[in-house]
Amino acid sequence: MTPTGYFLGHLWLIPLFPLATAALMLLVGRRLPNSVVTVFCVGSVGVSFAFALGAVTQLLSAGPENRVAQQILFEWLTPGQMLASDGHLVRFTADWGYLLDPLSCVMVLVVTGVGFLIHIYSIGYMGHEGGYYRFFGYMNLFMFSMLTLVLANNMLLMFVGWEGVGLCSYLLIGFYFLRKSASDAGKKAFIVNRIGDAGFILGILLTAVTFGTIRFTSAGLADVAANSGILQALNGALSAQALAAGAPVLTTIALLLFVGATGKSAQIPLYVWLPDAMEGPTPVSALIHAATMVTAGVYMVVRMNAIYQLAPQAMDVVAVTGVVTAIFAASMALVQNDIKKVLAYSTISQLGYMFLALGAGAFAAGIFHLMTHAFFKALLFLGAGSVIHAMSGEQDIQKMGGLWNRIPVTARTFFVAALAIAGIPPLAGFFSKDEILGRAFERHPALWIVGFVTAGMTAFYMFRLVFLTFFGYSRADDHAQKHIHESPQTMTIPLMILAGLSVVGGWIGWPASLGGSNRFEKFLEPVMFSAGTTELAKAVPQSSPREYLLMVASIAIAVAGIWLAYEFYRTKRFAAEVVAAKMKGFYRMLFRKYYVDEIYDALFVNRTKDLGTLLGRFDAKVIDGVGVDGTGWLARFGSTLSMWWDKWIIDGLLNFGARLTQLMSFPIRFLQTGTFSSYALFILIGLAILLAYYQQHLHVVLRGAR
């Protein structure tokens, strides 16, 4: 029995509210006062959150097997015949439909919930900025796109949301568009994402021709053919022996989709846009570049987990990419001095963890970490925003310090988030990270070792941030000193709520080995593909002693990282500088971010620019020079010729005629005196001549008369 209810029947309203207010803001927002903007924009996200909560509650009322609701609003692309790769003609269709299952439940709650808190925070943070309505318009447009992404029931609609969030990301990174670095960063994010999107599109197309459908599943739909979902088509193909685990086409699809994920979720090699994206306002960094949009890649891979589970090579690629990204980004975070840059690299690193989990087959753990990460990373970013707010816009942690009691709420919530991300039990990060590391160890011990070292680095750089920002003596200048103040309540209340979530958020995934039941994994179980034949599904039954050992190890390295940071930045104030001086080359390389931007510039950006210059030169010389200018010259030459003909031949003939007439009339025309009496005289003279000539006849006449 599929669950029903008002909210489940109106899933489409969830993304519609933010879309409506976004349209309002972008059309007439300029004329609205800030208070109206606030009520509409924050309110619409709140209403969406309420609807999402309602829908999830109604979904939960059904049994675990039946927890799926799908509704198709309309057929978006007109269905047509398509030749599938197995030679059959299939009726291809793309719906505009929404799917709510346990996976999208998690996502939709995270997006609307965290999004709502960040919207509230933005009221205070953006209150003094210009373009208030524009900011909220873009934010709401983002909420619409993100909700479309997570609620879509097919890949193409998901791609609509995927592109929508990319667009909003671009708009919001470049929010301060007068600053060149901001608009450049926006462009960089957009272009780098394009590369990933190309892979995603190819993945969608390959899925379409392979399975004949792009709908994720037909579950929850009453009256459609059995094979109308990817999941069903895949099962059919497996049972018909048409496809087997590890089939090249499945691997190709999985890898292409993963290219899309690396772009959106900032993995190697496409992570370079995320640090630059910190040019945007801080709430944007929190919402888009930490909590929601960048996790879209993780969500997408989990959504397509059936294909990934049947493509072990692709899983290896995912796992290795994830873990390498994790340690690579963490190492760069060690030396950054910009508070937001540290958090940006931390985000990349944590996303790497999520992909490590996915690659290890622990999809639920990946989503679990996604959720807890959304809580504490949003909190970290919002806290950083609050710090920046207090420091009059200063972002360099070298110029902070001593803020612990000056901005108490921000400092304490930030501290909680740092503990959570470092993996200190019983905070949220511990459970999710521990589960990922445990599953990574089962997959391959090498993955675990890298992840384990990364965990230590995470603890170190987070507490480096905490100690430099909140402890010690203040290194701010006098002007900034005077203005240090705690943020308004609209900003601190979301911080406190997120801090609470960062503490308790992990408890729903309390592992069995610690007396819990890992309800989160069970909750997501129906979404996961479980073909008993796959190698990955045959999870090794974990031996408890090893699990405890790993747990202790990860707590130990987290504590070690914190202790090291304490030693470096609290007790021995110059230890960090000494170490940096000793390993000068390595430090420099980390500080310059492995020169990746420079390498990309040299390899791709400048080559593209060269190509552009070359084409530009071709344009200037050949198209403009030969084509346009040549045609112009030819036209001018032709017209000169024609003008010459006109002037000398046509006009010349006329003038020649006139001249000739003038010449021929030379003596006679002087008779034409214009004087009346002279004409009369001529007539008389003529008469006289006539009379003289006819003199004889005159005599005859006169004689006759007589």
Binding site: S665, R669, F670, L671, Q672, T673, G674, T675, F676, S677, A680, L681, L684, L702, A705, R706
Partner: protein, 100 residues
Amino acid sequence: MLPIGDYLFLGLALFIIGAIGVVTRRNVIVILMSIELILNAVNINLVAFSRLYGDVAGQVFALFIITDAAAEAAVGLGIVIAFFRNRETVLEDEMDLLKW
């Protein structure tokens, strides 16, 4: 009846007076009057020959010419008035636009 030569002499005299007037006078109105003299010279000739041959056609023709002269005087004077309004002159030697 007087001999025809007397009549013709009178006509010739009138014609010559008129022709000299047309050629020598500058005032267009006087020229028009001179033309009337020429026409009347013609009329005398016509009437004289009509009487000589006993044919009435010459006299009828003379009547036509008198009518024509009246019409010509009216038209000519109209032209002179219109010209005077434009150029403020009635002297024919100043009316010399139509020349080479």
